[in-house]
């Protein structure tokens, strides 16, 4: 069913310039003059201006959505540009909300951009959401997913949801009056240990484009009150097989958010997801696999610096260096160490039988997987296992600046 979400207010007039700009909408009877005025009156909040938020915000701006709010606290990094097309080479290093505003205003100067250069938290979400009609969730971690959901349910705003992993995407519309919410589908988040780690990370750059544009389509349909929204359905997208499937979603009468309304205020979502409070990285871009901090010993594993490793190498000390990344990462850059991916280490312990009493230094990209690997070896009876803090990224930063970083 089409869902009209905007109150029947007096709609804003379109200028002659706007009429020319939106002519392909105006001659489409399903949009027409009134629809275009509804778009102009609409206020949409994009949570995140990353892979999903980029195409979403661009298309909403192009379509003439009058007010777009952007929530992001991050800055543009060169590695974002493989998919985050709202940013550009010229804005690397700038705040994402500032960078996005440049592109959006360049595309359509007739719309308003409201920048929220902040981390979305339980303390500010309701206050930010109250000024918008529709929320589009383009975040990348479970804490913020649940926060956005609960804030949408509490404020009665629909949530155009999209999510991606490698080659796979999901989209739906949650928290409409009659439809299910995110918690109806996923009552609880997976424990952090079962969340895929960066060994399985990465994303096909066009996939967030595909999913973000589906979210934008749902937003536009909600504003115009046309078509059948994804409320009550989950769209599954498999970009490799290029298969699209929709599954029925039901509103769970026992859902603590939208069913029993047991959740009356926002909670601590880091705690709910079993995740330590973020420090330098916030909930919008929180790491799945937190790198181990600079501490001399973590869980019984000594942490050594790249400087110490370099000294050991230069002094030709007797030790065994092990790389536990994936073969495709090894091809990008390596330190010449033998490779056993952390996921295979458990069943390949015998490969290291000769090293049992030797000093072993383990490295990965940033130090998180190698810490895991060190614990596996320690538990298998290896006596002298150390983790290279900061991994090959720290080596590139401090020892060999000619090395590429990925």
């Amino acid at each position: 069913m089409a869902t009209a979400t905007l109150p029947e207010l007096e709609l804003p007039k379109l200028s002659n310039e706007e009429i020319s700009r939106y002519s392909r909408h105006l001659i489409l009877p399903e949009v027409g003059m009134e629809g275009q005025q509804k778009l102009k009156a609409a206020k949409v909040l994009c949570v995140g201006t990353g892979g999903l938020g980029a195409p979403l915000a661009l298309y909403l701006a192009a379509a003439g959505v009058g007010t777009l709010g952007l929530v992001d606290f991050d800055t543009v990094d060169a590695s974002n540009l493989q998919r985050q097309i709202i940013h550009s080479t010229a804005t690397v290093g700038k705040l994402k909300v500032d960078s996005a505003e440049i592109m959006l205003k360049g595309l359509n100067p007739f719309m308003n951009v409201v920048k929220h250069n902040t981390m979305l938290t339980s303390a500010n979400a309701l206050e930010i959401f109250k000024d918008y009609d529709i929320i589009a969730d383009g975040t990348d971690n479970f804490q913020t997913r649940y926060l956005v959901n609960d804030a949408c349910v509490l404020t009665g705003k629909p949530n155009a949801y999209g999510s991606i992993f490698r080659f796979e995407g999901q989209a739906s519309v949650f928290a409409t009056e009659a439809g299910p919410c995110y918690r109806c589908l996923y009552p609880e988040p997976p424990p952090p240990g079962l969340v895929p780690s960066c060994a399985e990370g990465g994303v096909l750059g066009i996939l967030p484009g595909l999913v973000g544009v589906i979210q934008a389509t749902e937003v536009i349909k909600l504003i115009l009150g046309i078509g059948d929204s994804l409320a009550g359905r989950l769209l599954l997208i498999d970009a490799l097989g290029m298969n699209f499937r929709t599954l029925k979603l039901r509103k769970n009468p026992d859902c603590p958010a939208c069913g029993t309304h047991e959740i009356k205020e926002l909670i601590d979502y880091d705690q709910f997801c079993g995740i330590e409070k973020p420090k330098s990285v916030g909930p919008l871009e929180v790491a799945h696999d937190k790198a181990v901090a600079e501490a001399p010993v973590v869980d019984g594993i000594p942490q050594i610096s790249v400087e110490t490793l370099k000294k050991k190498m230069d002094a030709k000390e007797d030790f065994f260096l092990l790389d536990v990344r994936e073969p495709h990462e090894y091809k990008i850059v390596n330190l010449g160490a033998p490779l056993i991916p952390v996921g295979e280490l458990g069943r390949r312990i015998d490969d290291l039988a000769g090293q049992k009493d030797r000093e072993i230094v383990i490295h990965c990209r940033s130090g998180a997987r190698s810490q895991k690997a060190a614990l596996i070896l320690k538990n298998a009876g290896f006596q002298h296992v150390e983790n290279l803090a900061g991994g090959i990224l720290a080596w590139a930063d401090k020892i060999d600046p000619t090395m590429p970083k990925y």
Binding site: T139, D140, A287, A291
Partner: protein, 95 residues
């Protein structure tokens, strides 16, 4: 019957997107699946053998939670099971 494996869990099925298993009920088919791919078990089941609450299993287009017999629902050769993963990504930054 055919079970669709979502990307995040394919690491445990040797990369296979679908797995064919015998099984007269949803529960039996899933038991066959984790029997064939033991690393999947802890991702789908809790220590006391219950399906994890963040794992959604669909028999064809229906969530098994809402089928009257739930996991005991009978299945035929032509039926398909889909495991719906909880994915958070908007991008996949990790350290």
């Amino acid at each position: 019957m055919k079970i669709h494996i979502p990307t995040p869990l394919r690491a445990y099925t040797g990369g296979q997107p679908t797995v064919s298993v015998p099984g007269a009920t949803v529960g039996e088919a899933l038991e066959q699946l984790v029997g064939a791919y033991p690393d999947l078990r802890q991702n789908l089941y809790t220590a006391d053998g219950k399906l994890r609450s963040f794992v959604n299993i669909y028999l064809n287009d229906d969530d098994i939670r809402y089928l009257p017999a739930k996991e005991a629902t009978e299945t035929g050769q032509e039926d398909e099971l889909t495991i719906i993963p909880s994915i958070a990504g908007g991008c996949c930054d990790c350290l």
